[in-house]
Amino acid sequence: MASVELRNVWKIYKGDVEAVKDVSWKCEDREFFSILGPSGCGKSSSLRMIAGLEEISKGQIFFNGKVMNKMRPRERNVAMVFENWALYPNLSVYENIAFPLRARNMSKDAIDKKVKSAAKFLDLEPILNKNARHLSGGEMQRVSIGRAIVREPDVLIMDEPISHLDASLRARMREELKAQVSRLGVTTLYITHDQVESMAMADRIAVMNLGETQQIGTPLDIYHHPFNEFVAGFIGEPPANFVDCDVLQEDGKYSIACPAFHFELNEVWTKRFTTNSQQRIRLGVRPEDICISFIESANCCGLEVDFVEIQGDRTIITLKVEDRLFLSEVLGDVRPEVGQTIYVKFNQEHIHFFSLEDGRNVFFDEEMEN
């Protein structure tokens, strides 16, 4: 077991392509740490540098405080689980798990002991003699993990292991993976582009975009207190809504106005704006923090319904806001008509304001204090 630390790590490819820019974070021993970002954000380059498959352009990588930069992949004792499981289809489950041990010239008895204990742990005993090509998705996943852990790695790296599966299977695998990894207690780096996977499984998440770390924190910290507009928009499904607004002040009261709506801010926000005055700002609000009503009331805004999406226990209602669309999420079977005007209020406890210049959450520090 080991902690993994990246200190000011850069990856620069030929032609000055900066894939990873000055990334620093530390994944503690036995932590389930997720690197999350869209394609091209630098997550795969980071992972390849950690595994030793790619040279580190600048900076240092430590395992348990020991510099790894010059270590070869096999000396780092890292195990990988890939997107397609990469099992040998013509070998039995037993042989698949035994493979990395045979490659190390371990004695037959020692291999047998290790394979059997991994199989017991992952509940693979009944299918040890089955051919890998006849396994179900869940079984393949467990065999793939078995093969990774049988050589007792210090760090387990999972690269988009379930992103390509059917939706229903994905949800089940998520659960199983999390249960298995937490029982194993091995330091795990989990790479994905799907925020739901990171949110559901990780102890902490590093959100990346364009080679840079955007924010590091627990799933709930990141969800409730996004550091910038990118994080706010990337985390959450459906994504958060944004619109540029004017901040108006009258008699010590603050309100937010854009052509489509305007509303008064509560005391908490008034206080924040008093100490940190702003004029133009970008409002960010999550779909579930837009409360809708069919009846007009004080401080609410009337918006036109553009689209209604039924999703079982929740309904997504798309609303017209100027030239853009706002998504709102409502629990239960609310069914407004397209074209109808409904009245919305924003849950001010969970709205955010971002700078128009650099997209930073203007009141991030204040949010974190509360």
Partner: protein
């Protein structure tokens, strides 16, 4: 535009029955969804409609006319495939022009008319700026739109979309759902699409047909299949996470849940009347959606059963919790603020107004 009807379609591949007596009707201008796991027969069904696969028995009616023996090109049905199947060496414009230059259409319109048609469709799909690019220079969502455009240029009788969005990036999936529906509405094309994803079915379709191992399980509006599932399979397939199933012994005012630590489940009066009338055996199955379970103190009188928190999945505002009740597991979907820690003992209260009842032998809804 045309309506579509399948009458008693059966298709076998060797010993495997891919479609077993499948019948359904898709109205003109409707968005119809075939929902099922992989291997359920969705793609075979689409191939039968387009005429690529000949069924062993049954009829396909397009616009009320029997076209079972018609060749694919005569049916004027446009298919967009899961992998887009764009020609990689052609630009977007050439890809879009392609169907207009097919042997049976080549002479029908002038070059200028074809160009105008391509431009019109490209504008509607918002891809007019991409016309000179090659497919490898496009994002997944853009390729999707080009593939759709290629089916649209020839003004087909209907659209067949085989898993149009399931494999897109998570972020894109949501946007494409509303976009596809918008396009379908604007063009008013009768559309049949297949998906293994229940959310995709509920959010886009006017009518959903749930299919399993070649057999249609239920046909209905999204609300019908979700709130009034015809059997256990449909009930579990729709809704994420799936509905909890409790085998019970129904005894009038209450039902005793048949598990290692049996507990009583009070049955609302309106449901009692229904059950007394309908059931032959007291051995039934009760379904509870994860959203309809609340956490309470284990000693609270409303706690029907107790368990230990096993897995917690935070998904933002909602959290999915697996609770271990002796040897069984119950899934609960709850607000993130009220989630106890893993290992905590917890009581659970069920929302008794939203219970589902099924026959244990036939698995049909009561």
């Amino acid at each position: 535009m045309a309506s579509l009807e399948l009458q008693n379609i059966t298709k076998t591949f060797g010993k495997k029955i891919a479609l077993d007596d499948v019948s359904f009707k898709c109205k003109e201008g409707e968005m119809f969804c075939l929902l099922g796991a992989s291997g359920a027969g969705k793609s075979t069904c689409i191939n039968v409609i387009s005429g690529v696969v000949q069924p062993d028995a049954g009829k396909v009616l397009l616009g009320g006319e029997d076209c079972s023996d018609a060749f694919p090109q005569a049916r004027n049905v446009a298919t967009a495939f899961e992998n887009y199947a764009l020609y990689p060496h052609m630009t977007v414009r050439e890809n879009l022009l392609f169907p207009l230059n097919s042997p049976i259409r080549k002479k029908r319109s002038s070059k200028a008319e074809k160009e105008a048609r391509v431009r019109e469709v490209a504008e509607m799909l918002g891809i007019q700026e991409l016309l000179e690019r090659h497919p490898q220079e496009l994002s997944g969502g853009q390729k999707q739109r080009v593939a759709l455009g290629r089916t649209l240029v020839r003004r087909p009788n209907m659209f067949l979309l085989d898993e149009p969005i399931s494999h897109l990036d998570a972020k894109l999936r949501h946007r494409m759902r509303s976009e596809l529906k918008r396009i379908q509405r604007e063009f008013g094309v009768t559309t049949l699409y297949s998906t293994p994803d229940q959310l995709e079915a509920l959010s886009m379709a006017d009518t959903v047909a749930v299919i399993r191992e070649g057999v249609v399980q239920q046909i209905g509006t999204p609300d019908e299949v979700y709130y009034k599932p015809r059997n256990i399979f449909v009930a579990q397939f729709l809704g994420d996470p799936p509905m909890n199933l409790l085998p019970v012994d129904y005894q009038g005012d209450f039902a005793v849940v048949d598990c290692q630590s049996p507990y009583k489940l009070p049955i609302p009066r309106k449901d009692q009347n229904l059950l007394n009338e309908k059931i032959g055996s007291c051995q039934i199955v009760i379904g509870v959606r994860p959203r309809d379970i609340r956490f309470v103190n284990p000693d609270d009188p409303s706690a029907l059963t107790k368990g230990t928190i096993k897995i917690v999945e935070t998904l933002g505002q909602t959290t999915i919790v697996n609770v271990q009740v002796v040897s069984e597991e119950i899934k609960v979907k709850t607000h993130t603020d009220s989630v106890p820690k893993v290992g905590t003992q917890i009581g659970m209260a069920y929302d008794l107004d939203n219970l589902y009842y099924f026959d244990r032998d036939t698995s049909l809804s009561i």
